[in-house]
């Protein structure tokens, strides 16, 4: 079919890169934003704009919060089809309480899982979530969306397409094909070292676009490779669902044997028992970590089989000082506070897995490395965008002559996924600042409206990109690029101004105070606006030059 390996690779790289590039750019862009998800959360929820807090006292703050939790009506309705017989109104048998925090979280996310009588799968539970202020235990409104960690981050790994976990599969396939694109790209690119630093903006557009594509692909190659690969490792359990399909019985048996070996009860004893002081267990865990030379705070706290004689408390260390995601878990008998088990050092395979997942999930405390990850992610975006542009540049004149629409469609989709995505993201932040604190009774939640704003703007950007795409069919540029850059600049500045107006946290206030989470989001928005305006100016200059050329040609004909 192909004359040689290089041609075969070129075909693979072009077509898989093009089709999955539209997915990958979403993954790369929202992945880059997810590096600062907690900071975006704080921008989006002004009530959470205070300093990060350690895990609060269990007895004083967490326990009252856990005991007052119940699943929402929506969660109960969602559970209903998975239950034989009537659905109870209250859930009292707690399977698990959990609280999770990082060194960047001012507010604390807590969750509780409950047994459901009559559930078709006895292991199925119903869950309740809440966000609390760890200083007081006060509850934050449920419908306030943490835009960073609850929207941009899920977009990164699942496109928020939860139907049959379809999003995970699309992103996983895109990551796999990205590895293929990297390998085929290296094979196609004959002069990796000779053109390592090469970018020639003065050359033809096709040449300079390809230069930038190669440059951003090659210099960040280790980053691109490792992030695509570790992303697949993290979700290996989804892509190879062995335990939950073919080997269900074996999996259950394994869990029971593991419980025997670790001494952590697999099931409830069905005998009530009280809960000893968890704060004392936390102190003991911290003493043991310090004795190992790994002093640290609790990152994850869980109580299993709450209220039962078999209950136990698991404490995991917040891993801020290394890449590997190690918890150094210590487990206590809940009724007495005695140590049941300290997790042993991991095996070699386990350590590699912890390193690879930690590298991607970045729980560490290292601001320089975080910014370098953003740089890597945005470099990936540039690589994908220049790939689209090269595809269009190479074909548009030929397609114009033959009357084909291919370049036009690809260009419109590129506008949608590049500038359109930015319009939607900036517009969502504007909506966040414009919506009232509480929505009227019976309306969807505030967070739902923010989501609607995001998808509506993105859809609108797509329509705009296609409506304005006719010039591409004549071999000219789509004015939608320029127009959407204007929209990005306007929305980004509007978000900063609205943040100042509605919260008083303007840059003259946040920068002197050193409140970087909010100042950083504002500054990033202003930088985005600035870059968008530079792009507008350049595109306008190019458009004028192109019209000039057309006029001259027409004059020559006349």
């Amino acid at each position: 079919m192909f004359q040689n390996l290089r041609l075969a690779m070129a075909w693979l790289h072009t077509w898989f890169g093009l089709v999955l590039g539209f997915v990958l750019i979403v993954v790369f862009f929202f992945g880059s934003l997810s590096v600062f998800d907690r900071e975006i959360d704080r921008w989006a929820i002004p009530a959470s704009r205070f300093e990060p807090q350690p895990m609060p006292s269990f007895e004083q703050v967490l326990r009252p919060a856990f005991e007052s939790m119940q699943p929402t009506r929506a969660a109960i309705d969602e559970m209903r089809p998975r239950v034989d017989g009537p659905m109870p109104e209250r859930f009292d048998t707690v399977v698990r309480w959990g609280a999770y925090t990082t060194h960047r979280d001012p507010v604390l996310g807590v969750f509780a899982g409950y047994e459901v009588p009559g559930a078709k799968d006895p292991e199925d539970s119903i869950w309740a979530d809440r966000t609390i202020d760890p200083r007081s235990g006060a509850t934050l409104p449920d419908d306030h969306l943490k835009i960073g960690s609850q929207f941009f981050y899920p977009l990164h790994y699942s496109l928020t397409l939860n139907w049959y976990s379809l999003g995970y599969w699309i992103v996983g396939f895109a990551a796999l094909m990205m590895l293929v694109a990297l390998v085929s790209g290296v094979v196609m690119h004959r002069k990796i070292f000779r053109e390592f630093f090469t970018f020639r903006p003065a050359k033809s557009r096709q040449r300079s676009t390809l230069d930038l594509h190669n440059l951003t692909g090659v210099v960040a190659l280790p980053f691109h490779f490792f992030f695509a690969f570790t992303g697949l490792v993290i979700f290996a359990g989804i892509y190879f669902p062995v335990t939950h399909t073919q080997l269900h019985a074996l999996h259950d048996r394994h869990e029971q044997i593991e419980a025997q070996e670790t001494g952590l009860p697999h099931d409830r004893a069905r005998q009530p028992a009280t809960l000893a002081s968890v704060d004392a267990m936390v102190a003991e865990a911290q003493r043991r970590w310090a004795a190992k030379g790994m002093a640290g705070d609790v990152g994850f706290l869980a109580v299993q089989h709450v209220g039962d004689a078999n209950a136990y408390v698991s404490l995991y260390r917040a891993g801020t000082d290394r890449i590997a995601l190690t918890g150094e878990g210590i487990h206590f008998k809940a009724s007495t506070g005695e140590v049941l088990r300290e997790d042993p050092p991991t095996t070699a395979v386990g350590s590699i897995n912890e390193f690879l997942t930690g590298l991607h999930l970045q729980h560490f405390r290292h601001w320089l490395l975080r910014w370098l990850y953003v740089l890597g992610g945005l470099t990936g975006c540039v690589c994908i965008v220049t790939g689209f542009m090269f595809f269009v540049e190479k074909r548009k004149h030929q397609h114009a002559k033959q009357g084909e629409q291919g370049a036009r469609v690809v260009d419109a989709l590129a506008v949608t996924t590049v500038t359109g995505m930015l319009v939607a993201a900036c517009g969502m932040l504007v909506a966040n600042r414009l919506l009232p604190e509480a929505m009227p009774q019976g309306w969807p939640g505030r967070g739902d409206f923010e989501r609607y704003a995001f998808w509506a703007l993105w859809l609108f950007a797509m329509l705009h990109a296609f409506v304005r795409s006719a010039p591409v069919a004549r071999g000219e540029a789509n004015p939608a690029w320029r127009e959407q850059c204007v929209a990005i600049a306007v929305l980004a500045v509007a978000a900063v101004v609205l943040n100042a107006a509605t919260t008083g946290d303007h840059l003259l206030n946040t920068i002197p105070r050193g409140y970087w989470p909010v100042a950083g989001v504002d500054l990033a928005l202003l930088a985005t606006a600035g870059l968008a305006l530079v792009a507008v100016r350049r595109l306008a200059r190019r458009a004028t030059a192109a019209t000039g050329r057309v006029r001259n040609a027409e004059a020559a004909h006349a």
């Binding site: 000779r194 970018f199 020639r200 980053f223 490395l369």
Partner: protein
């Protein structure tokens, strides 16, 4: 204060290292000095210098963080430095003259 200084030094070393490696190449030397070159000897020297700076950058990263983290900081710093050098070469190539004292350039070439 020590850690930010060491990390800044690591970034500077990565930048200088990538800059020297670029200057060692026939395609980029003329962009910077508007003259033919470098001589094979200068080119070799620049390559050694570049490699040494890049290793220095790694050592500086290792002084600050756990080895696993330091390696990541270093790899990402190299990527950033390579991008910065490529863009400087494209738009403001003469800036890279700071990397080489004028008498090294004046030689035959």
């Amino acid at each position: 204060m020590r850690d930010p200084l060491l990390l800044s030094a690591a970034l500077v070393a990565a930048l200088a290292g990538m800059g020297w490696l670029a200057l060692a190449m026939e395609a980029h030397w003329p962009q910077v000095f508007a003259a033919r070159g470098p001589t094979p000897r200068t080119s070799r020297m620049l390559r050694v210098l570049g490699a040494a700076a890049i290793v220095t950058s790694l050592v500086l990263c290792l002084c600050v963080d756990h080895a696993t983290m330091a390696v990541l900081v270093w790899i990402m710093a190299l990527a950033g430095a390579a991008l910065a050098i490529a863009f400087t070469l494209a738009r403001r190539a003469h800036w890279l003259r700071v990397l080489l004292p004028p008498r090294c350039v004046a030689g035959p070439g």
